[in-house]
């Protein structure tokens, strides 16, 4: 560092103070200031990529913006080392950051998927921690605290306790939740089966042309809230394709404070509804203003269908806080009424799983017969390829074409194609498309354990294998329409799929969010 101005007349602090006779303090002051003649600052470090002549570009840099009010994720600035990995996740994997123009409007675009929390090497970015809310609810004796667990957490939670990737801990997870004091432990699988009934019926109606003009083909799955928000932001013109079905979490939430409350005679206002999800976007989803259908149904609009969502990681921390060793627990069972599930439900946790489950039951809904063995192991829709397709013969309907994408960069491929096809007036290529926000599906959701950093296909595959193992080997049933508790729900409460009450509690609408950003033109 050169100082190019004229050499200053050196009046040092020490000299100055000495001059004033403040001798006793002088020594101290001088030694504080030090005798270094360096200018202030520049004593720290930056990652190497930034330390080159500035006229040159830096390849991997900066970090994503995060709204301080983001319901899903938060960042601790002191842990941020500006490595740029969040940008890799957000821009390259999810195609969110960098896909809108500046100046921004009044929103920090975020689909809440939380993949950045899996990529951040210091975990500066984490889920918004809401363990306290759950602890307080559990301690409140006036509350009846209900919990549901997503399909994918049962093949990942164990990793937080030292078990190998993909270890199946379904029964231990239930046991831990009961030990934590939850009054009822339900399985989101139950509403995954219910989703198949609702969404399958909707699909059959779209295919049959019942919903012509309003709900065209292909039908999009709607259970991944990150994907839904992505579509609302970037492809609002295609929202008519989105299934009106709520996600399984929100279906269960709506049923807990209606059906369950009614069956058990509990005041819905006294119910606190928690869900354990592999997903940070679920924290955002449960806060969507319209997600209070149970409340509306019972005339208390302030009630939320789901009160708090904890990620798998938060559940692990809660269990650890309470000193419970998950690995040593005896397996326990989900509670009845909404605890039964089938293999078709558990595969919701895997990319392609919703598709596969839907095909099984759609076959039944159309043909009134159970699908053949080949449809129970629909290998073309499995695995980690970014975009997958399959073509199925269903008697009476003919060829049904389906596609699957996971990771939002892959979603764009199918969406851009559909947009282009529609512009050119071409008939739809697919009848049904499954979209999942996270690469690998929910098993590698933004709320899952950080078992490799950043997430690796090795770990994803181990969890996928366990999901398919539960479907094929562990559960007794593999077809959603055979779920007896779902049948009972229709019998006792909802009547039939897509009934008026089902539409009220289990279906939803979407928001055009394109006004909050200026999407970049593709290409």
């Amino acid at each position: 560092m050169e100082n190019r101005t004229a050499k200053p007349k050196t009046v040092s602090r020490r000299g100055f103070l000495k001059m004033l006779g403040g001798v006793s303090l002088t020594g101290v002051a001088a030694s504080i200031a030090g005798c270094s003649q360096d200018p202030a600052g520049g004593k720290g470090w930056l990652p190497q990529q930034y330390q080159v002549a500035s006229s040159w570009p830096v390849q991997v840099k900066g970090r994503i913006p995060i709204d301080p009010n983001n319901p899903s994720i938060v960042r601790d600035d002191k842990k941020c080392i500006l490595c740029g990995q969040c940008i890799e996740a957000c821009e390259r994997v999810q195609t969110v950051y960098g896909y809108y123009e500046t100046p921004i409007k009044d929103d920090i675009t975020c689909v809440n998927c939380g993949q950045c929390t899996l990529w951040c090497p210091t975990a500066a970015i984490t889920e918004r921690d809401e363990i306290d809310k759950v602890v307080r609810a559990l301690e409140d004796k006036n509350l009846h605290v209900v919990v549901q667990t997503a399909p994918a957490t049962r093949v990942a939670l164990g990793e937080e306790f030292g078990l190998p990737p993909g270890s199946i801990v379904e029964g231990k997870q239930v046991a831990a939740l009961k030990k934590l004091g939850f009054d009822a432990v339900f399985d989101t699988n139950f509403t995954a089966d219910l989703t198949i009934m609702e969404e399958g019926t909707e699909l059959v109606r779209r295919v049959a042309g019942d919903l012509k003009g309003v709900k065209p083909l292909p039908q999009f799955t709607s259970c991944s809230p990150g994907w839904v928000k992505f579509c609302e932001y970037f492809y609002p013109d295609l929202l008519e394709h989105m299934s009106s079905c709520k996600s399984p979490q929100q279906m269960l939430g709506a049923l807990v404070k209606t059906y369950y409350a009614k069956e058990k005679g509990i005041d819905p206002e006294k119910i606190f509804s928690v869900s354990i999800m592999p997903c940070t976007a679920k924290k955002y989803e449960c806060n969507r203003p319209e997600m209070n259908d149970a409340g509306k149904h019972v005339g208390k609009e302030k009630l939320r269908d789901v009160d708090v969502v904890l990620t798998t990681r938060e559940l692990a921390r809660l269990i650890k806080m309470k000193g419970i060793d998950l690995t040593k627990l005896e397996d326990a069972q989900y509670d009845p009424l909404m605890g039964e599930s089938t293999g078709a439900a558990v595969i919701f946790g895997a990319t392609g799983g919703v598709m596969e489950a839907a095909v099984r039951s759609a076959y039944f809904l159309i043909t009134k017969q159970n699908p053949p063995e080949a449809l129970l192991n629909l290998t073309p829709v499995r695995g980690l390829q970014g975009v997958k397709e399959a073509s199925l013969e269903i008697p009476g309907v003919g060829q049904v074409n389906v596609a699957i994408s996971h990771g939002l960069s892959n979603a764009r491929k199918l969406l851009d194609q559909l947009r282009e096809d529609k512009k050119q007036g071409k008939p739809p290529r697919y009848h049904f498309i499954e979209f999942m926000s996270c690469p690998g599906g929910c098993i590698s959701g933004g709320g899952q354990p950080r078992t490799s950093l950043p997430p690796s296909d090795q770990v994803r595959q181990a969890r996928l294998n366990s999901i398919y193992q539960i479907d094929a080997k562990i559960y007794k049933k593999r077809l959603s329409h055979e779920n007896q508790e779902v049948a009972m729900l229709y019998q006792k409460f909802l009547e039939k799929p897509n009934s008026h009450l089902a539409e009220e509690l289990l279906h939803t609408e979407y928001v055009d969010r394109s006004k909050t950003l200026t999407a970049k033109k593709n290409g």
Partner: protein, 260 residues
């Protein structure tokens, strides 16, 4: 030649990478009491740069704008002129830099600065003045300041101030969304950091009342009285050192970390 940085406020997405880079490079800590981002973000002895959040009315709605703030590194720096100890010096490269070993703690610079940039380390036992150095050691090596180099959104242009200014003018001339002014071109005689914006600067918290006459012109006049004034100040500062410090401590509502 003197370097400059152009800040295009329309491009900022509010990620705050620049604030983190500043802390990392200058080895300073984050403090929850002094946020570096958001509506409450303020420069302090410990925050050499902050990104202030603004919600402003625009056309038929509201928009969010983020304003990175730091020392503007005036071309004719009032702080440097006011500093009789030469602890603050304007370099040919552009940065106005601070030499702690020369500082006598008189705080004239704080009075002189029209942008209210230099801060006093009130919470230290032996406080010094503190402000952005524009990463002078990096600039001297041909590197951009830390904050500039890390921006993922392309907010900054770093280069010769003359060229940067030309580019700024070309940009606002080309695109009518911009306010037709480059902030820093003339303010206080011109600054190394320049801003362009699509929202009027006064709505974003910029001081738009600053004259284009370099403040140092005034301060040079004023400084002829320096020797006398300085000595008096010096005595006060030295003699009553702990009392002023204590008073300042007590006047803060943070009971927790009261020293002495």
């Amino acid at each position: 030649m003197a370097k400059g940085v152009l800040v295009d406020i329309t491009k900022c997405v509010g990620c705050g990478s620049c604030t983190v880079a500043c802390k990392l490079w200058n080895d300073m800590k984050f403090s929850e009491k002094e946020p570096t981002m958001g509506p409450e973000a303020k420069l302090s002895a410990n925050n050499w740069t902050v990104v202030r959040f603004n919600e402003v009315k625009k056309e038929n709605g509201k928009v969010w704008r983020f304003v990175k703030t730091q020392c503007l590194h005036c071309q004719d720096a009032a702080c440097a002129s006011a500093c009789f100890a030469k602890a603050l010096q304007k370099t040919k490269d552009g940065p106005v830099i601070y030499y702690p070993h020369l500082c006598v703690g008189c705080r004239y610079c704080m009075i002189a600065c029209p942008f209210n940039v230099p801060k006093y380390e009130w919470d230290k036992t032996f406080p010094l003045v503190s402000k952005c150095q524009m990463c002078s050691t990096k600039v001297a090596k041909g590197e951009a300041p830390a904050c500039v180099s890390v921006c993922p959104a392309g907010v900054f242009k770093y280069g010769e101030r003359d060229e940067i200014l030309k580019e700024a003018k070309a940009t606002i001339a080309r695109d009518s969304k911009y306010v037709q002014e480059v902030y820093g071109e003339k303010q206080a005689g011109g600054t190394s950091w320049l801003y362009i914006s699509d929202v009027p600067f006064e709505q974003l918290g910029f001081n738009t009342k600053i004259s284009s006459v370099p403040v140092s012109t005034y301060s040079h006049n004023f400084l002829k009285y320096t020797p006398v004034v300085a000595v008096s100040w010096g005595i006060i500062l030295t003699g009553l050192y702990h009392y002023t410090k204590r008073r300042n401590e007590i006047s803060k509502d943070s009971g927790k970390n009261v020293k002495l």
